[in-house]
Symmetry: C2
């Protein structure tokens, strides 16, 4: 079962397109309610009330609260993958592709704050096999960025001293964390934050092979021993 | 009321030192239980069982589950502040102080995974005035790093194009995120991860005034328009 397949289930008695729209509406309402009340405190009745359906009709789409959580978490992950792999992702050298990845990922996060918050706070509440599926999907997402960093090293654009695994987790940390503090009404737009983070990531990874000396990154700003 | 003061309450009938040790033991047990079961699902009885006390005796130390959560969250924050402001924090130029801050903060996180996870996942469950107190304390912590970045700009060591507010949140994001993926049994030690993140942060912020041109960070790895 792929994450995408969950989208296609249960459209009994409706054509696929309206059912998909309804599922999306249910998923968005559930994300808002889980984000506000917390997953444990929220009920299926709350979600039914929010979308104006009887609880019995909602069971046509989902069987249990865990299904709703999985729809949110798998759905936001699928959207995130589509976002960073959309046309343009492969344009330019590895530094350009890292910049594109970071800008797209940050913009996506600022535009999907509610679902992202549920993703990171509540995915541990999923039952075990679904939790493992999501963790595996997160690992594949991380690997996209780790591979870009390693590719940048092969191209001579990313400092050879960088550990691609730690670098990918560092960049995803700084960009995922945006859901903790981003204010859509704040003075900095999502695009400004995305550009600043892309600048930071590129500057933090790049170095010039002509001036590179092993360990130079660790020596910058280092106190004398 | 400061965050520290909560530590000193309720030591009726005991000398302060053993009571403080017992409070710490209760706090650590509660953090483990909240991290495992989730705050909503955990009960005061679970915590009493974990420390081998009767529930009635536990009420000698705390009045409600919210008190336990606040002890954990305020306690880990106080420890984190002491960690980054301990002697040595002011040594060297601003880049050296940024390096010290990042290394200490990452090491602290890798050594306090359980309490950090509760801090970030569950502080929203605190009742309102306590939640605001914690958010204000987090803002002060962020300001420590933001001020270091701004100081680095005055010293001509940090790129003038950097937004100190976004930079501080970016660095805290990448370093806080460690609780999501760090594995104490993994092949990279906390010290190695701390050093890699400090290298990344310093490289991501620094630039040479002699070669600085406005916007050069945004131009690196930028596709032609």
């Amino acid at each position: 079962v792929t994450l995408q397949q969950v989208e296609g289930e249960d459209e009994v008695g409706e054509t696929a397109a309206p059912a998909a729209g309804r599922r999306r509406e249910i998923r968005d309402a559930a994300a808002r309610i889980f984000a506000e009340k917390g997953y444990d405190a929220a009920s299926i009745q709350d979600v039914a009330d929010a979308v104006g359906m009887l609880k019995g009709s909602l069971y046509h789409y989902i069987r249990a609260k865990d299904d709703l959580l999985f729809e949110i978490v798998a759905g936001v992950h699928d959207d995130a993958i589509r976002n960073v792999t959309a046309p343009g992702a492969d344009d330019g050298d590895a530094l350009a592709r890292i910049r594109t990845f970071v800008e797209r990922h940050v913009l996506f996060n600022t535009q999907n704050l509610t679902a992202i918050a549920v993703f990171f706070r509540d995915f541990l509440a999923l039952r075990e096999e679904r939790r493992h599926e999501i963790l595996a999907a997160r690992d594949r997402y991380t690997a996209l960025l780790r591979d870009l960093v390693a590719e940048g090293q092969r191209e001579g654009l990313v400092c050879p001293d960088v550990d691609p695994g730690i670098a990918a987790l560092a960049v995803l940390g700084m960009t995922n964390w945006v859901y903790q503090w981003y204010d859509p009404a704040g003075r900095r737009s999502g695009a400004q934050i995305a550009a600043a983070m892309a600048d930071f990531a590129v500057a933090g990874l790049a170095c010039d092979p002509a001036t590179h000396r092993p360990g130079h990154r660790g020596a910058a700003g280092r106190l004398p021993a």
